[in-house]
């Protein structure tokens, strides 16, 4: 406990270097703009910046990437509330009550409520991040290949069993991601796989390019399809709004606590901010005495999903830095950044790169606190970004996406892939194939495969190895139960349903 606090102080010393403080502010502002603009989301906003970040010192670079995420988490809600246009998927739930409240004449208060909830969710996520991740990292040091593979199985099972959408399509999406990851040279044997004699496929698929295409262009296609109409509610945040916001938040402790807890839990297990916000909204609505008022602009309906989204965002960092398994696409891209710097995320990071890890954790604290004041002070200005005509910023986004995709590997073919992934992302969205697990599979593909191969070698070729090691067994069993949950749940309901 004390050790963690002293480590955090060391981290804060890193963060308070003027250069890093500047990076934090710049990153947050960029992040909020990324959050406000539809079609430019956290994941691809971070992905586009990766080539730039490579030229910086590692700590500053990763701080910049994570700031984009924190900024985007705050910023996504601004346009949800003011224009009913969610800038980010995790801000969709904020439109349910945020927009009605804004339309009903209290836009300032709605924004304050949202930011306060974000802040509380973030701080709670930071506390868990600070005190829980060292424990988890210590524990994860005992993991061998079989355990690593089992943890990944658990991650992907969570998408299949608890994802809510069609489990079969989730399986297809995950396997497709793994297949894309396997294209190119096999790192173990050096053989070329699935290149079918072409030179083009030899380099394989880079997941950053995939993210830029799937989340960038794919989103843009969806946005033009729906047509973007900005019906602005102009606003400023007055002291009265802040006072009433604080009062309302303290009057709704249940919504705040539900949101925060759901968020931190959902962020920790893979899923991320978007499902967390919906879940928190649902829970709060169900248990609220004034459930009928939800959707008409109640405070609790803003507080719960917003706290959940940001709690999930910050706590998603825990599995990424301790296990090397990102809980959300944005975290996956940040992890990609770490790997470009030669920092292997996982338990060894806490032993070998103490300064870096605690600098990152401290920057998460600072970034979310500074971010709160930045959005509170400048929300109306950020909202006015959307007043720029869509026909102006949309081609600019595509242009910047192309720069990002090219600069990852300096390959022209990646720009074509980006376009292909954009079309793919559009159809995936339309047909309910989930994108997030596919991206994670693409990121983790090589790691999952080598973990599995090593584990099988240890087990002399028998898959029993995953079920005999004391740490792997519970993980695998949990993974299997969660994986088959869509099949188990109806059976269980049939057996026990009548008693309950």
């Amino acid at each position: 406990m004390l050790e963690n606090i002293s480590n955090l102080m060391v981290g804060l010393a890193v963060v308070f270097q003027p250069y890093n403080l500047m990076i934090i502010v710049v990153g947050l502002i960029l992040g909020i703009i990324v959050g406000v603009l539809p079609g430019l989301g956290g994941a691809n906003g971070v992905a586009i910046l990766i080539p730039v970040v490579v030229t910086m010192p590692p700590t500053a670079g990763i701080i910049l990437l994570s700031m984009i995420y924190w900024g985007a988490l705050y910023g996504g809600s601004i346009t949800s509330i003011l224009f009913n246009i969610p800038g980010e998927p995790w801000a969709v739930a904020a439109t349910f009550d945020g927009y009605p409240m804004a339309k009903g004449g209290r836009p300032g208060k709605a924004l304050v409520l949202s930011f306060l909830a974000h802040g509380v969710g973030a701080i709670f996520g930071c506390i868990v991040l600070t005190f829980f991740s060292p424990i988890l990292a210590e524990f994860a040091l005992k993991f061998g290949p079989a355990e690593v593979f089992a943890v990944m199985m658990l991650t992907f099972s969570a998408f299949v069993g608890l994802g809510g959408k069609s489990p079969l399509k989730t399986v297809v999406a995950i396997l497709f991601g793994f297949i894309l990851a396997a294209v190119g040279m096999d790192i173990v044997s050096g053989q070329l796989r699935m290149t079918y004699g072409t030179v083009v496929l030899m380099g394989g698929f880079n997941f950053i390019v995939a993210v830029i295409g799937l989340f960038g262009l794919g989103e843009i296609f969806l946005t033009v399809e729906e047509g973007l109409k900005v019906e602005g509610i102009s606003t400023r945040i007055g002291l009265k709004d802040i006072w009433e916001g604080v009062k309302d938040v303290s009057r709704n402790p249940k919504a705040l606590i539900t949101g925060t807890l759901v968020g931190v839990w959902m962020g920790f297990k893979p899923g991320g901010a978007t499902p967390a916000s919906f879940m928190a909204y649902g829970f709060t609505k169900q248990s609220s005495p004034q459930a009928a008022e939800f959707g008409k602009g109640v405070s609790a309906g803003i507080i719960a999903p917003e706290a959940a989204a940001h709690g999930a965002g910050t706590s998603a960092m825990i599995p990424m830095i301790t296990l090397g398994i990102p809980g959300s696409p944005t975290m996956a891209v940040i992890m990609g950044g770490l790997m470009i710097f030669g920092l292997q995320p996982g338990p060894m990071l806490f032993k070998e790169n103490v300064d870096f890890v605690w600098g990152l954790i401290a920057s998460t604290w600072m970034g979310n606190i500074i971010g709160f004041f930045v959005v509170l002070a400048f929300a109306p200005i950020f909202a006015s970004v959307l007043k720029v005509r869509f026909a102006i910023f949309m081609p600019l986004i595509i242009y910047v996406c192309a720069i990002g995709a090219y600069a990852v590997n300096n390959r022209m073919i990646d720009v074509y892939y980006m376009l292909l992934f954009g079309v793919l992302g559009y159809f995936f969205k339309k047909l309910d194939y989930p994108i997030a697990p596919m991206v994670l599979a693409l990121v983790l593909g090589d790691m999952a495969e080598s973990a599995m191969r090593q584990a099988l070698i240890i087990g002399h070729g028998s898959p029993i190895v995953f079920f005999t090691l004391p740490l792997a067994l519970p993980l695998m069993v949990a993974a299997l139960i969660i994986f088959f949950w869509p099949v188990i749940a109806p059976v269980k309901a049939k057996l026990f349903g009548k008693k309950a």
Binding site: E225, A391, P395, Y399, A402
Partner: protein, 177 residues
């Protein structure tokens, strides 16, 4: 019989924006095809126990098998539903295909033009075209944004961060500073 009726689903409707269940069927078939070609290559590489543990094709082989099996389920579900309830709602809302193509074709052209004149010049053309022709934005704004943004991005990336962006065949002659 079923194959023939499937065949009729294709082209004609795709142009009208297609519809959900047919797209569902086609996408699942595409995944089955993908799975099969992955399996074929895995068999070539060897999918059993090699000289140093599992062979190169081991992991992809099971991925391919998994994709084929799960996509078969998706396919049969979608096909049964199609038989029973008809085509279902359209894949795209009416009239949506036009704005999408208006984004897709110019951005694809930008990428192709990049091969010749480099990314920044191609992007300048793309920006100007989209703003003026599709967005109907005034000439002044179009020219301003179309010139200033590629120029500033060129300076930031190529000059400040020293990240070289594609120059294409003739880009180096066109941008000489």
């Amino acid at each position: 019989m079923e194959i023939i009726s499937l065949h009729c689903l294709l082209i004609s409707d795709c142009l009208k924006g297609g519809n959900m269940r047919k797209a569902e069927i086609w996408v699942s078939l595409a995944f089955i095809f993908l799975g099969v070609i992955v399996i074929v290559d895995s068999i070539r590489l060897g999918f059993m126990w090699g000289s140093a543990g599992p062979a190169s094709g081991f992991f992809p082989f099971y991925l391919g098998v998994g994709v084929v099996i799960s996509s078969l389920f998706v396919f049969s579900k979608a096909f049964a539903k199609y038989k029973k309830e008809g085509a279902g709602k359209p894949l795209m809302p009416p009239g949506a295909i036009r704005p999408i193509l208006w984004v897709l074709i110019p951005s694809a052209s930008m990428i192709v033009i990049t091969e010749f004149v480099g990314l920044h010049i191609a992007a300048a053309l793309f920006l100007a075209f989209y703003m003026r022709v599709v967005g109907k934005i005034g000439w002044a704004t179009t020219l301003l944004v179309g010139i200033i943004s590629p120029l500033s991005l060129y300076i930031v990336f190529d000059k400040l961060f020293l990240i070289p962006l594609p120059q294409g065949l003739w880009g180096a002659y066109l941008l000489r500073f």
